[in-house]
């Protein structure tokens, strides 16, 4: 039925099957929008957040999602700036993923703040000292960049190509794409860092506070590193998932293993620096504020194992997997590695957001734990659903994996 919209030479499932696939996601999206409506109309008392857990599930997942979305800018960076042309095979998919991650994050943020209609004050009366101001600026600009990067992919659609001016426009866009890639890369490096800075600068939270270079605490750089290290892994993971779901070969093996290799090298560097940072923090930064750092891990579930898991199990292990050429040949290992790597960055963001708030600062206040309620979960799942739907449509009607056609015809 929607044949004329689909690229020639690639096979797509029937419209009915496609609809069947979309349906549950649409339902989830609807539920999510309902929950969001509740929060906007009745206020944030609809969530389980409280004065201690001023940041909850949403901020944690925003950070996680944005870290994973780094795949977009970093792949672009590798492709357009460092000229790793193999990555052209995944760049479109990466861009769409990035767009989904960032737009979703911004959407949730708008629900998370108590007064969304005042959010623009940050642009009108910015506080240059605030990491959050930096983040807001970069993310909004970068989201626009992503939108622009999305356009040519969109214009590749079979029907849209028929409009001559669009075709011309797309051609022009392609020429300047490296510029956008560069801008995007710069912005992203910056805001990934700022997101880390968000917590590193918290002088009043010995658990999160880190020393650093100039105005940037060490977390600034660690966040950049962890993001770009896991970004490719996430692209790898999603590509694999899509090809499993659609039962198609989408990219050549070597592309995936290249992604893995890049991810691996960056991970190993990250793990190294993270370990050093942790040691400095335990033995110097925290001590200097008169705290016994080991107490930070005195409360369940945030035991010392969290630290071990984050650095070794979900950092070192995937790195080693990715760095061994033999394992890189096996899809199973690649996927395992990516899952671990992505898990690592997610755990790191969880620790930074939730554990930071859970551990007491005053001696006479208790350790507190927090669990999201259905409104919070539903709202987020809704955004995930939005992502899946958008990606599915893009995959069906646009060209996310240029190699797909050739691989199919072979």
């Amino acid at each position: 039925m929607d044949k004329p919209l689909i690229l020639r030479g690639v096979s797509r499932c029937s419209t009915r099957n496609f609809a069947a696939w979309l349906f549950p996601w649409v339902v989830l999206l609807a539920v999510g929008l309902f929950a969001i409506g509740l929060c906007l109309i009745a206020g944030l008392n609809q969530t389980n957040m409280d004065n201690r857990f001023a940041f909850g599930l949403w901020i944690f997942l925003d950070l996680a999602v944005i870290a994973l979305g780094a795949g977009a800018f970093f792949t672009g960076f590798l492709l357009y700036i460092l000229r790793r042309d193999e990555l052209r095979a995944v760049i479109n998919s990466a861009v769409v993923l990035g767009f989904i991650c960032y737009s979703g994050a911004v959407l949730i943020l708008m629900v998370d703040v108590g007064q969304p209609l005042r959010a623009w004050f940050t642009f009108w009366h910015p506080n240059p000292h605030s990491m959050l101001a930096e983040v807001t600026f970069c993310i909004t600009v970068y989201l626009t960049v992503l939108a622009i990067e999305y356009v040519p992919i969109l214009l590749k659609n079979r029907q849209l190509r028929k409009v001559p001016s669009f075709l011309a426009f797309e051609f022009q866009l392609h020429k300047v794409m490296p510029v956008f890639a560069a801008v995007g890369a710069f912005l992203s490096f910056f805001h990934q860092g700022s997101l880390g800075g968000l917590y590193g600068v918290l002088q009043g939270r010995p658990f999160a506070f880190r020393e650093g270079f100039a105005i940037w605490p060490s977390t600034f750089f660690l966040f950049i590193l962890s993001a770009i290290a896991t970004g490719p892994a996430f692209v790898l993971l999603t590509t694999w998932m899509v090809s499993v779901l659609t039962r198609k070969r989408l990219v050549e093996k070597r592309v995936l293993s290249l992604l893995a290799k890049i991810s691996g090298w960056l991970l190993i560097v990250y793990v190294g620096l993270k370990s050093i940072d942790t040691l400095v923090w335990l033995n110097h930064t925290a001590i200097s504020t008169g705290t016994y750092p080991i107490r930070f891990f005195a409360w369940q579930p945030f035991d010392v194992w969290v630290l071990v898991a984050e650095i070794v199990l979900l950092g070192l292990v995937p790195a080693l997997i990715f760095l061994s050429p033999s394992r890189r040949q096996s899809t199973a290992w690649l996927v395992t590695g990516s899952v671990l790597a992505c898990g690592g960055v997610v755990l790191n963001r969880l620790v930074m957001t939730i554990q930071t708030l859970a551990v007491p600062t005053l001696k006479f206040e208790p350790f507190l734990m927090y669990w999201p309620n259905w409104q919070e979960v539903a709202a987020f799942v809704g955004v995930v659903a939005y992502g899946v739907i958008l990606y599915s449509l893009s995959f069906r009607y646009l060209t996310l994996f240029p190699q797909e056609r050739d691989l199919q015809q072979r």
Binding site: G43, L44, N45, M49, D50, N51, R52, A54, F55, D112, V113, G114, Q115, P116, R118, A119, F121, T122, W124, H125, P126, N127, H129, S130, M131, L132, A133, T136, L198, V201, L202, Q203, G204, R205, P206, S288, T289, G290, T291, Y292, R295, F296, A298, W299, T356, L357, V359, P360, T361, L362, K363, F364, E365, P366, F367, L368
Partner: protein, 256 residues
């Protein structure tokens, strides 16, 4: 946020040996600052009070058990004030003339970053729209605006009274306020006169004298935030409770 050393530094000293946790300061604060009563289902985690009194103890068993009460409001940090530096849109600032850390609900977008940044958790979020029993809004204080849902708030040393004192001074042609006209509600309400308020820069003032005393201390002093709210106690174990190390036993941890 240019930081010039303010010519006066308003601050207070709270005598913990006098405080017996009656909570009058909290109530007086709520009356002065139009803080609405709790909505049904609100608990100590979602509550709204700019002056929260914590109960702590020496952790020893009966009959050697002793309790102490910590009235904790905004500590009005002086150095790299955590909440000021993090606010993305300058809804928080430090008054250059008296060092009071302010919070402006009208500017706040409710991102709650400042709450995550505050070491003593003296910032509270308006999770609900403010509501008073029918007719009771007639008792609201006209010198303080009622905060709407979705913004952060905290103690700002009863700025309504400060502004009134300023206006009075101006009407009499003075530029300096008279501290007789400016006493925060909690200070005025304390039945034990446990709180002293004034200008810490004025060496002659009672507050400056007490703040420099050997038994005076500040909460989490070693974080280096230079708060302007001091505490004092003759009891060493009480003073230790203000320190940063988490020498906390489980029973204390269990206490709210």
């Amino acid at each position: 946020m240019k930081r010039t050393e303010p010519k006066s530094r308003y601050g207070m000293v709270i005598d913990l040996d006098r405080c017996n946790g009656c909570g009058a300061c909290s109530a007086a604060c709520a009356v002065e600052n139009n803080i609405p009563p709790a909505q049904p289902g609100v608990n100590e985690r979602t509550g709204l009070t700019s002056m929260r009194v914590y109960r702590a103890s020496n952790g020893r068993a009966f009959p050697d058990h002793r309790t102490v009460y910590f009235p904790v409001s905004c500590q009005h940090c002086g150095e790299k004030t955590p909440c000021v530096s993090v606010c993305p849109q300058n809804a928080v600032d430090v008054n250059p003339t008296n060092g009071v850390v302010s919070q402006v609900p009208a500017r706040c977008l409710g991102c709650r970053y400042c709450m995550a940044a505050c070491p003593v958790r003296a910032r509270y979020f308006n999770w609900f729209d403010p509501e008073w029993p029918e007719g009771m809004d007639r008792t609201l204080n006209p010198d303080v605006s009622v905060r709407m849902r979705g913004v952060a708030e905290k103690c700002n040393f009863c700025h309504g009274r400060w502004q009134a004192a300023q206006a009075k001074a101006a009407a009499e042609g003075r530029r300096e306020i008279d501290f007789a006209d400016y006493v925060p509600a909690c200070v005025e309400a304390c039945p034990a006169q446990a709180i002293v308020f004034g200008d810490l820069n004025d060496a002659e003032s009672e507050v400056a004298k007490q703040a420099s005393g050997s038994t005076a201390f500040r909460l989490l002093e070693r974080l280096g935030l230079d708060p302007k709210v001091y505490y004092r106690s003759e009891r060493a174990w009480v003073r230790r409770l203000g320190d940063t190390d988490f020498a906390m036993n489980e029973r204390q941890a269990a206490r709210g």
